[in-house]
Symmetry: C2
Subunit: 326 residues, 2 copies
Amino acid sequence: MKIGILGYGNLGKGVEQAIRYNKDMELAGVFTRRDPSTIATITKNIPVYHIDSAKNMTNQIDVMILCVGSMSDMPELGPVFASMFNTVDGYDNHAQIPGYFDTMNKSALESGKVSIISSGWDPGMFSINRMYADAILPEGNTYTFWGKGISQGHSNAIRRIKGVKDATQYTIPMENAIEAVRRGDMPVLTAGEKHRRECFVVAEEGADKTWIENEIKTMPDYFSEYKTEVHFITEEELKENHSKLPHGGLVIRYGKTGFDGQNNHRIEYKLSLNSNPEFTANVLVAFARAAYRLNREGVSGAKTVIDIAPAYLSNKSGEQLRRELI
Amino acid sequence: MKIGILGYGNLGKGVEQAIRYNKDMELAGVFTRRDPSTIATITKNIPVYHIDSAKNMTNQIDVMILCVGSMSDMPELGPVFASMFNTVDGYDNHAQIPGYFDTMNKSALESGKVSIISSGWDPGMFSINRMYADAILPEGNTYTFWGKGISQGHSNAIRRIKGVKDATQYTIPMENAIEAVRRGDMPVLTAGEKHRRECFVVAEEGADKTWIENEIKTMPDYFSEYKTEVHFITEEELKENHSKLPHGGLVIRYGKTGFDGQNNHRIEYKLSLNSNPEFTANVLVAFARAAYRLNREGVSGAKTVIDIAPAYLSNKSGEQLRRELI
C-alpha cells in the first residue's frame, strides 16, 4: 500500500523510517507547506510535494498519515484531508477528541474514506489498554503515569522565560504513588502526587539564575503544583545529555472480583521508549494498514483505536496469527 | 443479555461472580453433566439444568460461556454448542487452536452464531498484546513469562507420584532472564532458562521423600529441564498457605526503530492475579458482550480475541469511551 506523509517534522521522519520495516508498504511522497526543494528526506529518492499538490494525487496515495501539530494544524487540515484520503493521525488534545471525531467522521463519511484519529501511544495504545482493563475489571480504578520522558510543552514553557537560552524538562512518575496503586490503596491522586518535574536549563550569560528558578517553580499549571527540580547546565551538556526524545509511561488498573470482592488483580501496560516520535510513528503506520484494509472492505467514517480489531494492524494472515501469536 | 454457563467448576463459578459486576447481563442458568440437584450455586435462585436441556433453550440464552476442560471436553462440546448458541470459551491447548478454530467456525457459520474461542489471559489478553506489539515493532523479539503462579497441570503430575498425598506447584519466572530481555540482549531462551519450579508436597506416612523428590526432579517435560525445588510440608500447611489460585505473567517485546535501528523500545504487559479462574472468567464475560453484539449486527462464525474491536467489550457507549478513556 502507498503511504503519504503530511508534515515533515520529527513525527513525519519517524513515519518515513517506520515504513522501511513494513514490507507491504511504500512511501509514495512527503507533503509539506514549506518549499519542497528545501526538504531533504532521510531516505534517498523520496518525492517531496507541496501540500497543494495533494488534491491531484488522490489515486496515488492509499493512506495519508497526518504528522502536523494537534494544536492548530490538525483541526484545520484533518477534515480537508479526510475528504480526499484515508487518513491516520495522532491527534492528542484529549479534551477536544470528541469534537474532532465528529468533524472527521462527517468528512470521511462524505468521501467514503476511513479516518483513524488519536492513534499513537497516549492517546493510542494507552487508550486501548485503559479500555480493555476497564471492561475486564468493571470494579476498580485505572491510573495513568507518564515518563520518565521529555515533555516538549514544558520544555517550551521554560524556554519562553527571560534569560533562558535553552531547556529540557523531564516528567518523572512518583514511585511512591505507583507503589500505592500496586498495593491496592486505590488512592485519589492529584497531578502533583503522580509526577515530579526535572528541568535542565541553559541560562544566558549574566542572567539571574535564582529569578529563573523561581519563575519556573511558580509557573501555574505547568510547574507550581509539582515537586520541581531545576539544574543549570552548559549548552554543551544539554546537547550531549538531553537532546534525545525518550518517553514512556504506565497504565495500571487495580480491580476486584469474587462474590464479595475478595480477590484483587493488577493489569499493567508499560512503555519504555528511546524515541517518542519514532515509536508514535510506528503505531500510526500499523493503524495505516488497518485504515487501508477497512476501506477496501467498504467501511468509511472516523474510527478511534478501540474501534479497530487488533488483527487489522498486522501484515500476517489470520491463519498465521492463530498459529504463532494466539 | 442472558448468559448461560456450561460446566460449574472454578471457572464456571468465576463467571457466575463476574456477571454480578456487569449490570447489562443476567445469569440465565448453569448447565451441567452432573445431577442438577447436587449443584448449589454461590448466588441464590440460579436455575441449574442438565446439559441435555440446553437444546430446548436456544431462545432463552444469548451467549453460552463454555467452562469445561480444554483437553477433551471442549473439542467435543464446543462445536455442539456453537451449532445452537453464541459461545465464548477459553480453549487453551495452544497447538490445537488452528484446528479448533476451523471446527468452531464451520459450526458457527452453519448456525449463524458467533463463537469467540481461546479467550482468557493466555491465550487471550496475552495473545492480543503479543499481536499488537508485533505489529507496532516489526523488528524485535517477544517473550512471554508466566507466574508466579500455580500450574494445575504440574501440581497434578506430582500428585500422581506414588507416596504423594497432595501437592501444589508454582511456576516462577527467572528474574535474570527478564532483566536480559529488558536490557535488549535479545536472548534465545530455553524453557528452563525462563522459569523455575517450586513444589510443596504432602507425603503419605512412611513414604520415601528422597525418592519422591528425585521422581519429581527427573520427570521429563514437566520438571527435568527446570531448576526445581521441592519442599515437604504438612497437609495443614498446604491447606493454609497454598490453596489459593494466584497466577500472572508478563509479555515483553523489545524492538528497534530508526534508519539503522538506532532506537530501542520496550512494550510490557503484566498481570498479577489473586485468582486465576476469576480473572479468566472476567475476560470471558467481557468477550460474551462482544459475541452478543457482533451477532446482533449479523456477524457469524468463529473469532479469536484479535478479530474483535476492543470497544465491543465495553458496556459504555462509543461517545462515553471517547470522552473518558481515549
